[in-house]
Symmetry: C2
């Protein structure tokens, strides 16, 4: 379980998705694709990994699929995500 979460986060595109979804709102794949410089099939599969790890949920809205962070995520997992995002922010700053 935790291992699934960690593997899901241990990939730049997927971590990028989590960072983008961390604003709490919904985003469709077609919006994430250009922001993360990923092709459609790549994005779709990465989203599947995040879904299976229980990190995101999806909702069909007409021809779009809207993703958001799983609102029922366990608090411990939420805490991991928080720590990871804070760490990556710090490191982006350091790199810039």
């Amino acid at each position: 379980m935790i291992l699934t979460v960690l593997s899901a986060l241990a990939e730049p595109t997927r971590l990028g998705v989590i960072a983008l979804l961390a604003d709490g709102s919904e985003h469709c794949v077609c919006e994430l694709m250009p922001k993360l410089d990923a092709t459609q099939s790549r994005m779709s599969r990465h989203m599947q990994v995040l879904r299976q790890a229980g990190l995101v949920v999806d909702r069909r809205d007409a021809q779009w699929v809207r993703y958001r962070l799983n609102p029922d995520m366990a608090p411990e997992i939420r805490q991991i995500i928080k720590a990871v995002l804070e760490a990556s922010e710090k490191h982006e700053r350091a790199a810039a």
Copy 2:
């Protein structure tokens, strides 16, 4: 950097090592091996991954190599480890 840390943690034996080292003291490979049910070469390579991720440091002591959590680990990384260990503890309890 964060990705390296996450991949390092996303493996059961390595996560087990971190959990064992979390007591703050030193442990030699020969002690970790039986506790994590790992062969010698497996352990050695996993320790290398943890070292390269900056999570542990090693020290030669006679014929042993003693490992401990990297005391110079960045606080953000430390925070990730803390969150991960707490989550895995909770989940072990749930599984038991």
